[in-house]
Every structure is written in C-alpha cells, then in structure tokens.
Amino acid sequence: MEGTLKNIKLFLFSIFGSIFIFSSLVANAVEIEYWQYTYKARVEAIDKLIANFEKANPGITVKHTNFPYADYRKKVAIAISSGDGPDLVQLYYGWLNDYRDSGLIQPLPKDAFSHSDIESNFFAMVSSMKVDGDYWGLPTAVRSLALFYNNDLFKEAGLSGPPETLDDFVAYAKKLTKRDGSGNIIQEGLALDGGIGQTHHFWREVLVRHFGGQPYSDDGKKIAYNNEAGVKALTYLTDFEKTHKTTSNGFMNRGQDAFAAGKVGLYIDGSFRISKFVKAEGLNFSISELPGHNGKRYNFSSFWANALSSKAKGEKKEAAAKFLAYLTSDEAMQIWLDTVGELPAKPSVALVDANKQHKLYGPFIRGLDYATATTFISEKPQRQAVVDAYDMVVLKGMSPKDALAKVAKDEQEVLDEFFE
C-alpha cells in the first residue's frame, strides 16, 4: 500500500516536474530582433555570432534582419516609432544624437553595463556614446584610417618604405604620378576623391590637428577650424590637385577603384577596404600608418554601435542586453575581425601582438592609439562642407581662406539648428 502511494507520489512529482521544466522553457523562449544594413561580411559575422549565442542561451532566439544601407535609417525610424522593428539595432556612431533625439534608442542598463567597466575596457573613442550621463550603445568593432600603397609603383619610382611625414607624402605623390603627352594624368600619385570617402575625415581629424588646430570646440557646439590651422590644412589638401597635380578628382571613377586597378600610388582608407584590395588581381600593396608631422601622429576613428531600441521592454530588453553583452565580448570581437576585417573595440583584444603586428591590420590597430572620433550632428551636410570647400578651391579658384569661411558658416548653421 505504502509502495503504491510512493509510486503515485513519484508519478505526480515527475509529471509536475516535467510540466514545470517545460513551461519554464516556453516562458524563456524569447525572440529578439537584430537589425543591421546589408554587407556580406557583416551579415556572415552576425549569423555566426547568433549561432554561438543561441547555443549558449537556449531560451533566446535572435532574428537577424538586414537591408540596403540606402534605406537603413528610414526603415529603422519608421519601424521603431510604429512599435515594430528591432530590439537591438546597429547605428553609425555619428547618428547617435539624431537617434537619441528622435527617441529611437534607450540608455544601456547600468547594472549590466557598468560605466567603469566600459571606460576601462574599451578604446577611448567609445566615450562618444556617452551622453547626459548614460551610455547609449557599444561597438563590436572600430575603424581607423591607414595608408594603402602600391608596392610595384613604389619600386618603379625608386621608393622604398612608406612616407613618414607630411612633406614626404607630397614628395612621394609627385614621384608616383604619371602623365601622358598632353598632361593628362594616367597614374595618380595620391587619390583623394575630392573630399568624399575618407578624405574629409583625414582633413578634419588629421590635417587640421597637425597644423595646430582642432575641428570643433570642446563642447562640440562651435566650428573651430575657421582659422590659420584650418586654412593650412585645406591648402595642404587641395594643393595635391591644384599645385602638385598628383591627383585628379574622378580619375577612374573612385580612388578605391583606381587603386584596385593598380593606377594609384597612395590611397587612404579604412580596414574594411582590405578585402576588396586582397581580391584585386595583380595588385601588390602594403599598408602603413598615416604620415606624421613634427613628430606627432593623428588618426580618425569611427564605429558602428549596437544600441537597445526604445521598443525593447521587459524580458526582450533583458535578452537583448544579454546578446549585446555577447556582441561586445572578446570572442565576438575576434570573430568580427577575422570575418569583417574591422578592428576590435577593446585594447585587450586589439592590442595583442598577433593583431598589432599583423601585416594588414597592424597599422590600423596601431592608429587606434592616437585616433579621435568626430562627434557629428548630421554627417551628410557636415561632410558636404569639406567637399564644397575642396571644390571651391580646386574648381572655382577661391582662396582656401575664403572657401573655409563660407563653409564654416554653413556648417555652423547645422550645429546651431541642432543645439538651439
């Protein structure tokens, strides 16, 4: 009798137990959405990271959505404001103010992402994600600039090793330029794309600083380049096309295409361009740090951050925060570097010797040490200011001083409109 009772007890216990386990599993099966723009390597990397994360966290599934860059900002804005869309979203750090202002994202919970941890573990430029005492997002990877140069053209021009100073840079560009009988450039010494691409960053964060200035006031509200340093920097940049004639805007469409075709000696770009050049047939290139000046070096860094959307609440927010923690782990960063070619956002991962001395990534990683991330209000009009200044000098023959005064006024309006 007693045995039967025991059996029944056991039976009931096992039933309730399994119901309990099962129901807790069901309750924990949270699905969160992750959004980014379509770029093959990035999509692959996120898929890999999701697979790893789901294995370690059986209760959470992550739905990965991506679409073309051109529609990205629009779709994110519309989806989140209508209550759909991602729980965790990738955004360019330069859009932070815009996203925050529009109520698309929420601050990271302090218990899961302690400020002292972030500040001691990540590179300094990540501090640009801190506004009003809160962190609003964290990157998996960061980017910096470096100099790509064509080994074969260097050899042909009798050059060895990369240019170390801004003066060398000009001399090298001159030696690497080739023209036909009527003076048309058939091989570009240095490709600049007239301010588009990475050139406006190079001007703002590298050249302006080398010539003793800074692009914006410390609080980011005022233009600070409309002075002698800015004029010198713009003169230096535009002289390549105007005076030294080593550069021709639009040569073979874009600098990156011309460099891939082996028709450019020097070219500045980010580490994400490496994969394109590695695939370019017959291209024999090296990478070095950007040239310095008066013993100093500067660099520009940027990154895509992962942020919690304002839609994520309750258990979805918790799950999204967990996934974010994984995305910013050392393991994820190494996977991202190997898959996408973007640099780890933590010195502990980036600055290991294998990465630092890496033939391709090394110069970028070493550049992170002295890099600044510009705080943009609205990247496009701010980029346009540099592009316009360049065109005014090169196409219209304006003096760099007048050109700079004019675009500084336009850009200041963009800043004022935001801060008013």
């Binding site: 529009s102 109520g103 073979m252 009009p381 592009v387």
Partner: protein, 300 residues
C-alpha cells in the same frame, strides 16, 4: 432587400450606379494616394517635423528659411535652366528627326524604334552609362574621342560650368523618342488635301513646312512643350545617379529642386522644410500648366 431595391430602379439608374461603382475605384485611389498626401504636404509645410515625434507649428518659418537660403536660389535657377534650355533643344531635335523620318519609307519603323528605345530604358541605368562616358581619360569614351582629334580633356561632370549640361544631355536624349512619335502622329494627322492643294499652287518644301505643317502642329507643340517642361522641372534620376555622391554637385551646380527636397526629407529628416519646397514646386508646375490652358484657349 437588395434585390427589391435593385429591381425597382430604372435602367438608367442602374447604369448610373454601375458606372459609379467602377469609377469609385480610381476616385478612391486618387483621393487617398494623390489628394490626401498633397493636402498633408501643405499642412506639414507649416510644421517642424523630423518624421518621428510630434509636429510643431512654426508658421511660415520654413518658407522664410528657404527664401533666405542662397542654395535655394542656385537650385531654383538650375531647375529653370534644365527646362528653359532642355525643352527647346529637345523639341528642335525631335521635330527635325520627325520631319525627315516621316518622308522616308525604307526602314522607317526600325529607325523610329531606335529613337524610342531610350525612352523605355530605366533612367538610372542610362544615367550610369553616361556617367562612365564622361569619365576622365583612361576610361571615359568622350574624352578618348576628344584626345583622338587633339582637343584637351574636358572635366564634364567634375566641372561647375559643364556639369549641368552634361547631365541634361542624356535627359534630352531619353525624351526624344516620345516627342518624335507624337510629332509624326501630328504630321500624319494633317489632311492630305492640304498638301495636294499646296503642290498645285506651286508651293516649295520650305513654304509647305512654314505655312502648313508648323501651324497645323501648334497644338501638338504646345502639348509637348508643357509635358517636357514639367518633365525637366522634375528632373531627378539623372542628377541623383550622375553627380558624385548623389549630391547635385560640384558645389550644387547641377542640383534641381526635387533633389533638394529629397535631401531635406530623407537625409536630414526635415520634413517640414521639404514639404514647403514641394509646395513651391507645385506652384511652379501649376503656373506652367495654367499658361498652357491659356495658350490653348487662345488657339480656339
């Protein structure tokens, strides 16, 4: 109940109801897809709005900002240039082609098809091909041809002076096919007896052209002027695809109104300012259309 209602109606009433049911589809479509957004654009043009969050009423501030912006006047002037230069050139070419094409019998259909194909091609694809034509030396066809005849390389799209015309060229080219077909139809609609009478009276080719064909084509020409003026005032695809970074550069020298609207709306998310610009463009197009009606009325 419905059966009784329906059987009580007269045939005319039934016909009217059936007609309205069918008409309701396009009417609803137009009201929801065309008129309502148009009304919204007027409304939003008095607001400050970034696509999210609440709209804030700011009166005429958007308009003041636009009129106080030097770039707006450059862009407006560009837009007018596209129309005022593009329309006469395209009409002149298309009329000339139509006039001679009408006279030949051999290969008429084939040649007409060749002229019409660009009209059917996607503007974006075509603009990109032209963009490559305009490239500097090692790859741009136009510059390669120039170098053969010893003319120095031209900057085309990279130039403040030439950019607008370089972008206008494919737009003119793409519109030719449509205009030619309309012109040929117009010429063919002229009664044969007019030509016969003129020949009997001993009129020459030039006289027939001036006294018969051109006057008879006046309504056709006015129609084409209006259609292509509106087309050029709304130019976008070509500029978006051909200018570097889709910025309408260099230095805004090729930027038309529609691209400025697009930039404000979808790059800077200033929906109020963009709407105010669409209202301005709307008024511009309305003026052109009213002028056409006025000309047509005088015609009769």
């Amino acid at each position: 109940m419905f059966n009784k209602f329906w059987s009580d109606l007269s045939i005319n009433q039934k016909l009217a109801i059936t007609a309205w049911i069918f008409l309701a589809v396009p009417i609803i479509f137009y009201v929801t897809i065309r008129f309502y957004p148009t009304y919204e654009a007027f409304y939003v043009s008095f607001m400050k709005w970034n696509l999210l969050g609440a709209k804030k009423y700011i009166g005429f501030k958007n308009y003041f900002k636009i009129f106080g912006d030097d770039d707006f006047w450059i862009v407006l002037w560009n837009t007018i240039k596209y129309a005022v230069i593009g329309v006469p050139i395209s009409l002149l070419i298309s009329f000339t082609v139509a006039y001679y094409l009408n006279e030949i019998k051999f290969g008429h259909q084939t040649i007409r098809a060749f002229y019409f194909i660009p009209f059917l091609t996607t503007a974006i694809a075509m603009a990109w091909v032209w963009r490559w034509f305009y490239q500097p030396m090692p790859i741009g066809y136009f510059n390669i041809i120039l170098s053969w005849v010893g003319i120095p390389q031209q900057p085309f799209l990279q130039s403040v002076e030439q950019g607008l015309y370089a972008i206008m060229a494919p737009a003119v080219w793409a519109g030719l096919g449509f205009q030619i077909v309309i012109f040929i139809a117009g010429i063919r609609a002229i009664p044969k007896s007019h030509f016969e009478a003129a020949e009997i009276d001993g009129a020459g080719r030039v006289q027939i052209l001036r006294e018969i064909i051109l006057p008879a084509l006046k309504p056709t020409t006015i129609f084409l002027v209006v259609i292509s003026t509106i087309g050029f005032l709304r130019i976008f695809d070509q500029v978006y695809s051909m200018s570097e970074d889709s910025a309408g550069g260099p230095l805004n020298s090729t930027k038309p109104l529609v691209l400025m609207i697009y930039d404000f709306a979808f790059d800077e998310y200033k929906l109020g300012r963009a709407s105010a610009l669409t209202v301005i463009l709307f008024l511009l197009l309305l003026t052109v259309s009213l002028l056409q009606l006025w000309f047509m009325r005088k015609q009769r």
